[in-house]
Amino acid sequence: MTRTDREVPQGHPVDPESRIVLGPDDIARALRRIAHEILESNKGAEDLVLLGIPSRGVTLAQRLAVLIEEVEGTAVPVGSLDITLHRDDLRSQPTRTPMRTEIPGCGVDGMVVVLVDDVLYSGRTVRAALDALSDLGRPKAVRLAVLVDRGHRELPIRADHVGKNLPTSHAEKVQVRLRAHDGIEDTVRIAAGPSHVGGR
């Protein structure tokens, strides 16, 4: 474990005090189940668009698309939806550089859009994503898939597909690390200490 920790790219350190709550196998199983759930509730892969919220949500959306294709045999369009410019806390935080929004060629009009993110917390990111989405078109339906739901919602928002419900305290920090994004083993950890958060 400590060996792989050294490979963490700068800016995404892993707290050495943190404990692992989901390992690579748990994450793989959770994503596989979410893929099945999405297909089940949509009755197939028709009209589906997966939009990840940068940055790790995009990685997760891409993995879900692969899993859905394995099950259903059809490729599902994947994109990214940046929410930076729709945040409600722009004034109280240092300026953030927006990331790219990439909408698949099919657009979102009349589609079933599944928003994908790593952690669901206050719900403010999802609120911003819904606003960002409405500027892009009018989906038939919008659903939410998250790897971890840690509770403490501040808005009337809930996820349709959850990898793992993790009861946490405000003082804790949930860290998601994905191989494709961070270069280290897929893990979800809980660390003590103040969870500075953009969503609040």
């Binding site: 410019l85 109280s92 240092p94 790219r100 990111t125």
Partner: protein, 327 residues
């Protein structure tokens, strides 16, 4: 990010790259049906233009509106300035209405820096006399990076009326920050005094011979032609327009020769162009011309500048900028 944008030298390399990356996101938005972002909702931006402008003023106005800021244009003609009000009084009157940013164009070099000392609002220099025009340099850099990627080591030749050009000054500073290899070319009468000392300090090359700058040594990646600013000239800078054009104009022959040395050479001009004087129609409309790309980048880059200067709490430092644990 600094509070004001008065000079291209106000930005370090990371800040420039951040603005250019943001501009790329903003550029995508221009292709959408709904060109509106809520990021600057409730902010007020005043465009205060004491000099004529079409593209800079309109692009700042559009940029502000697409970011949901309230933008108001004030031009010298039709404002109290024409009744003899001083710059200071005009600016203080406007900022008394609680505005967040002033975008200023003025014929006096240094006017924007002076205004920045009088007001609490962010001041953005949209061209001050023959001094600087930083957002033009940013959109030029954006246009170049879109085509060339990293500008470090790229060869940029800037040609024309350097004495009167604020575009040249801001570009030399910004391209220096990005590590480009810059050569500037002008007839001796249009080379600003002190340029030799400046070029030694900032590491760019001066030349009076366009053909030598273009066709000797490594091939140019970008040729930027500057407008001959007749409105700032009282005559005597060059004998005839024809002579200027032969010596320093980007003729069809020169473009063809350039393209033989580097097929992908970019031709730029900040506009408005004097066709047939500093640039031929073949060069302006031919392959490799990115002059219209520069115009289209103008809005995106100005959106990015407004965003970085006006959103966000500058008193909070960036230690917490990760989105970790959010949602």
């Amino acid at each position: 990010m600094p509070r004001h944008l008065l000079s291209a030298a106000d930005l370090d390399r990371d800040e420039v790259i951040e603005i250019l990356e943001t501009a790329a996101s903003m550029h995508d938005i221009q292709r959408r049906d709904v060109k509106k972002l809520p990021a600057l909702r409730g902010r007020t931006v005043i465009n205060l233009f004491f000099e004529d402008s079409t593209r800079t003023r309109s692009s700042f106005e559009i940029a502000g509106k697409w970011m949901s800021a309230d933008t108001i244009n004030i031009t010298a003609k039709g404002s109290s300035a024409s009744k003899g009000e001083s710059l200071r009084d005009t600016v203080l009157t406007i900022t008394a209405m609680a505005v967040d940013a002033l975008v200023i164009r003025h014929s006096a070099s240094g006017a924007c820096r002076q205004v920045a000392g009088w007001v609490d609002a962010s001041v953005i220099n949209a061209g001050d006399g023959t001094h600087e025009h930083p957002t033009q340099a940013l959109l030029d850099a954006y246009t170049m990076t879109r085509r060339l990627g990293d500008l470090a080591g790229r060869r940029v030749v800037i040609v024309g009326d350097l004495t009167h050009s604020r575009v040249f000054r801001s570009n030399v500073l910004l391209l220096g920050t990005l590590g480009a290899d810059v050569t500037v070319v002008a007839p001796p009468t249009l080379m600003p005094s002190g340029a030799a000392e400046w070029s030694r300090r900032d590491g760019f090359v001066l030349s009076h011979d366009l053909d030598e700058a273009l066709f000797v040594g490594p091939a140019a990646d970008v040729v930027m032609m500057l407008r001959v600013q007749r409105e700032r000239m009282s005559g005597g800078f060059f004998p005839t327009a024809r002579e200027y054009s032969v010596g320093y104009g980007l003729s069809r022959e020169r473009v063809e020769r350039l393209r033989r040395r580097n097929e992908d050479v970019l031709v730029m001009h900040p506009g408005p162009m004097n066709r047939g004087l500093e640039i031929s129609a073949d060069a302006a409309d031919g392959l490799g011309s990115v002059i219209l790309d520069q115009v289209s980048a103008g809005v995106a880059v100005r959106m990015a500048v407004l965003y970085h200067l006006l959103s966000g709490d500058h008193s909070v430092r960036d230690q917490d900028s990760g989105r970790e644990g959010t949602t």
